[in-house]
Amino acid sequence: MKHPMNSAAAICGLGVTAMGRVYRDAEDLAAEAVYLAIEDAGLKKSDVDGLLINAGVSNAVSIPLHVTLGMQELNVLTFMQGYGSSAGQMIQYAAMAVANGLANYIVCVFADDPLQEGQRTGAAYVGAGRRSAMGSLYPLYGFAGALPMYALAAQRHMDLYGTTQEHFAEIAIGQRKWAAMNPAATKREPLDLAGYNASPWVVQPFHVLDCCLVSNGGVAVIVTTAERARDLKQPPVYLRGFAQAHGHDAGRSDKDAAIHTPAARSAPKALAMADAKLADVTQCQIYDCYTYTVIATLEDYGFCKKGEGGPFVADGKLGPGGALPTNTGGGELSSYYMWGMTPIAEAVIQGRGQGGQRQAKNELILVSGNGGVLNYHSTLALSPRAA
């Protein structure tokens, strides 16, 4: 029997601002993204009756956004935070709300402004305000921000399974090939293994090019019922299935948190709702804060056995012309970093068939969101066809 949420809701609007060194504040970028999404959907502002808000590392967008937007008659309004899993979560809650009549058109918006003039690129992510003596131990040891923890996770995968630096390079290089076909991508110049190896180390095994970009920008997505979406300007992208899985405490040794992530519980639930199998998936948009995250997620999603992710990606199957097109806009590594909105925005473009030169088979698009250090996970299964 079809799950009641399978194809009950659809994404009908997408707004993406300029990305990168856009020195504007996050709230204004959020507002612009919302207006762009409303225009994209062919709606009027007064049609929108729900607003879900998520802020990035600068944490500079919250409930007052509705005042900035002049939205005074909303039926749904909240701020949400699940780190990199938030964007996928917002769409899930929006889908359940529209399907149950709480609201008709819910805008889900994310914006961030970590880049400030005169500051180092990663400054906002290194973390400020470590006031306690205990918290101050971490930078002494070199543990500032999430990056080192992902580097250690990647190294464990290398030690346990023989995953190589070239496997990580394959992710970075393959996604750069996609980015070359995406006019909105920040980094479009060609990248080869020599270029990857020449990229400076940050925390080995990660070069700079194993790490996502840092971007200012905003992305908004509008969710409505499948019925309403059919009558709008854009081709609907149906939400066929979705799920979440969360957990892991990095301070306890009872879980192999670097290797076995909540993605393994999330994807099967999302596919079950979609009444689909992994083999039905025609493309992936995988949260790629680091190259290793893609390998860990593909393994946990079941595309290959645990530990075989390196050889799995080594034949270029994720890149243009490959068997499993993945991160077709260049991903967070090469296009822009809007946390979980990066994979979702590209999935919407692909789901509509608007990918142009980079359009891949879009029958079933699996989208991941990943937050913390592989702690928090959301999965969406999207399709241009309703079940």
């Binding site: 006031r131 003596a133 080192p148 180390w201 940050v202 040794s253």
Partner: protein, 135 residues
Amino acid sequence: MPEARPWLPEPDSSNRPYFEGAQHGKLRLQQCSDCKDWMFPVRKRCQTCGSTHLQWADACGRGTVYSHALLRREYHPRHAGRLPLVMAQVDLDEGVRVNSNLVDVDPAKVEVGMKVVVTFEHSPTGEAIAVFKPA
């Protein structure tokens, strides 16, 4: 030479036992008096049974490398002249996973599963910092 500055702010009541332990060459963790579970960093309530009866106790100081990496960019006075600094997550025998550094080891020989033991390094102002060396 500029005067050496402390690496850490003053401990507070919540974490003072940890730093006093370090000064005496002991790695201290909180332990639940009820379910005996160990935890780190500082908690007010046992993560396992919810008890508020937590006390600081000496850990045995032995553990296993869960993973490791090499710091290649310095951004703290302690890193100066020490790159690549070996970073590690160590699974203590008590069931707690801590972030630290490995010392007295060839960075190329570090691997997952290596047995390590705690040792203490002192800052220019005398603060004791827990690090690990091969057992």
